[in-house]
């Protein structure tokens, strides 16, 4: 390794960075309601997402009650059940996970972690939240229209979506599509902010390759979302035309209840392609921020620099790019040219390469680290295990020959819940335990946190492991009740009842978590400004929680990457990003550099 030039500059006048004009709130309304401060918008986004997520949680209880104890609950009929699964899926994927990761974490941490005072377009950012809120309200309204919400399945496949046999085919589906279109418009406004703030708003010295991986994950995910959500928008608008104006974009000639409908010639497959061209990148829109955040959690709580930082960044970019050419693996049973299936199976398996690389790097970061089993670390470790589990079943489903018999069984349900339900949620929990002290100034209660972690983690396995076995036996998904099917033994019912009970228990532990968040807000232990001894800029703010404008009078200058942990000779075993080399006591050489020289 060649000698490294260390550009030690003690102090550089910060005057050259142009200060942005900050928006200042003048009244209670503009400070807390129509606010343009990204931190307030982040909290508004998060609270809305959690509120609608709770609706999704309750829906999952209702459908599990029906599956676990069929014929016991007279208030759930087949139509209700379909509406529950549809709304549960849509709420969790789009309105909870996407909104929480990008609207919540993105808004709070992008300006703080890149050293900006706020997002670059604060007004558009505020609009983004309000349009999102309207989208959520429209979605909720669909529960109260005649016929209820749509029950077409979250994939909304035509033609059944808008035929009268499907529950909610009148008002429900229209509101669903309008809500999705609104969500996408709102998201685009927010997404512009996230991308442009990362590109333009970084403080001095914060080069792209010095950004924490959290920001890289959110950045790449937002780019994916900006390119993929239009596909859903196109599908939603064309379906609305089919439903309301009688066009035949997706609707083939069809006879319904003995009556020939006026539709003809449309292509249901076209919708599937549009939907999954959005739907697959959507998986990574949820997963990439989780990858980024978990990298930082592991590095901080194992007191070690992230292994292979550059590779981690490139892997994020590679996964993002590949995610656009794998969508048809959701459509193996829709009928396609065998070569087409072969192509998509290959690309799907290739995506496992950068993903596995990330998993190895997390494990190698832990290797010989000074692992602190704090709550964020527990959740991060749980994420790695869960993600590997869910990822491996993905390899099964990515192969056409294995996928075809497993299609539409509980195996698929188990797979995607593990990989894009449980795994990202574990990261969200870990991130909340990690950053709650910065956001509120108080620590979350440890005891309740431990209870929440163990019940959620073990409970999730008790729920989803059995579903793999059910799926391998051929138990179909989306069925309201099994009735008497020869290949389904009675024991399936017992297992289903067990899973239902576990669902209720895990659900209860989330209530404990929410209680913890409210309780700790008032009675939690006062938090140190940097309780985890982390290097990134959000922990170096003069105030906790960070005040308006984030960083006192002068913006921080960044002198190093975000992973200087366990540095020999450093005062606290770590060096924050904004500490100039001259202020580092002892030897300035980081261990990583010395190892490189060998």
């Amino acid at each position: 390794m060649a000698d490294v030039t260390n550009r030690d500059i003690d102090y550089v006048a910060p005057a050259e960075v142009e200060e942005m004009e900050l928006y200042h709130a003048h009244s209670w309304i503009t400070k807390y309601v129509f606010c343009q401060d990204a931190k307030v918008i982040a909290i508004q986004y998060s609270l809305t997402a959690v509120a609608i997520g709770l609706v999704g949680l309750v829906l999952s209880w209702l459908m599990r009650l029906q599956l676990g104890f069929p014929e016991l609950f007279s208030f759930i009929d087949a139509e209700d059940y379909y509406q529950f699964i549809t709304m549960h899926g849509m709420i969790m994927v789009v309105y909870l996970l996407t909104a929480l990761f990008l609207g919540g974490f993105g808004n709070y941490f992008i300006p703080l972690m890149v050293g900006a005072r706020d997002m670059v377009f604060p007004y558009v950012n505020m609009l983004s939240f309000w349009v999102y809120l309207i989208a959520v309200v429209v979605l909720v309204a669909s529960f109260f229209v005649e016929g209820g919400p749509t029950g077409a399945g979250w994939t909304l496949y035509p033609p059944q979506t808008i035929l009268s046999g499907t529950p909610g085919s009148d008002g429900g589906i229209v509101l669903m599509l309008v809500s999705l279109a609104l969500f996408i418009v709102g998201f685009t406004m927010g997404g512009l902010n996230y991308v442009v703030t990362v590109l333009q708003g970084r403080t001095r010295g914060m080069t792209l390759m010095r950004m924490p991986l959290t920001i890289w994950g959110i950045f790449i995910a937002t780019v994916l979302a900006l390119l993929a959500f239009p596909a859903l928008f196109v599908g939603a608008v064309m379906m609305l035309f089919d439903k309301l104006l009688g066009t035949s974009f997706f609707m083939p000639a069809i006879v319904e209840l003995g009556e020939q409908l006026s539709y003809g010639g449309g292509s249901p497959l076209l919708f599937q392609h549009l939907f999954w061209f959005f739907g697959h990148p959507e998986v990574y829109i949820v997963a990439l921020p989780a990858f980024g955040i978990v990298s930082d959690l592991i590095s901080v709580h194992a007191r070690k620099n992230i292994f292979g930082y550059r590779m981690m960044v490139w892997a994020l970019v590679a996964i993002g790019g590949l995610s656009f050419i794998v969508w048809a693996h959701h459509m193996y049973v829709s009928g396609m040219n065998p070569y087409f299936g072969f192509f998509f199976a290959t690309t799907t398996l290739i995506i496992a390469v950068p993903t596995a690389l990330k998993v190895y790097n997390w494990v190698l970061t832990l290797w010989r680290g000074n692992i602190q089993l704090t709550l964020p670390m527990l959740f991060a470790l749980a994420f790695i295990v869960t993600f590997v589990n869910g990822g491996i079943t993905g390899l099964f489903l990515g192969n056409v020959v294995v996928d075809v018999p497993l299609s539409d069984t509980m195996f698929v349900v188990a797979h995607f819940h593990m990989v894009m339900g449980v795994a990202p949620l574990l990261v969200i929990f870990g991130a909340i335990y990690h950053w709650y002290p910065k956001i509120t100034g108080r620590m979350l209660n440890e005891g309740m946190g431990q209870f929440h972690f163990w019940v959620s983690f073990l409970g999730a396995y008790a729920i989803f492991f059995p579903l793999h076995y059910l799926g391998l036996m051929g138990v179909p998904r989306r069925y309201y009740e099994m009735g008497e099917i020869s290949f389904i033994p009675e024991s399936v019912g017992t297992l289903n009842a067990f899973v239902t009970v576990m669902t209720l228990i895990v659900g209860f532990s989330q209530v404990v978590f929410l209680f913890n968040m409210v309780w700790s807000l008032f009675y939690g232990k006062k938090a140190d400004p940097n309780p985890w001894k982390a290097t990134t800029l959000e922990w170096q703010t003069p105030e906790t929680p960070p005040g308006h404008g984030n960083f006192g009078k002068e913006l921080p200058i960044v002198y190093r990457w975000a992973y200087d942990y366990s540095v020999p000779g450093a005062k606290d075993d770590f060096i924050p990003q904004n500490v100039p080399p001259s202020q580092v006591s002892g030897k300035k050489k980081a261990p990583a550099r010395r190892r490189k020289r060998k």
Partner: protein
Amino acid sequence: MGLIQKLTEKPWLEQGVDADPRDPDAPAYITGKVGLWVFLGTITSLFSLFLSANYVRMGYADWRPLSEHDLLWFNTGLLVVSSLAMQWAVSAARRGQLSGVRNGLALGGIFAFAFLAGQLMVWRDLVDQGHYITSNPANAFFYLLTALHGVHLSGGLIAWARTFARAWRDYNFFDVRLSVELCAFYWHYLLGVWIVLFAVLLIT
């Protein structure tokens, strides 16, 4: 610094910031312009997906090509003039002539409104001739795509109205110039989109 060079940096080896007080990493681009480029990326994705849906749907048996409408050529001309007028405003802004900026903006806006009115007339004619949105998938795509383009142009007109007000009222020439440049760029982009859409409608 090139992108490749940036992405192959070794952040764990380098500390400090560059001695030059003008930070080489300071953004070389204007934030508003970067925002517009990113936004246009999203719109490009939107229109390409609509066009690929159009392309797929064309392959089905019930597709009947659209009857051409002469007024569309005229409308295209209006949009070209509108775009040219905006460009005139930009070069006036670069020269620092406020009157030129005002005239260019006014003309650009008027011709854009005329284009939208022209499109509505095409719609009315088509409806009068019995080409309804349900009669054929080609018609449906025509109405859908022209509507979508019109909506984007209308959104542009909101930005145009703000620029127009700015060019008349508060005189901060840097702001005016930037707004005019952004508007004109969006106008050229929408002209490009329209030409592609029109070409697709003509070939099918």
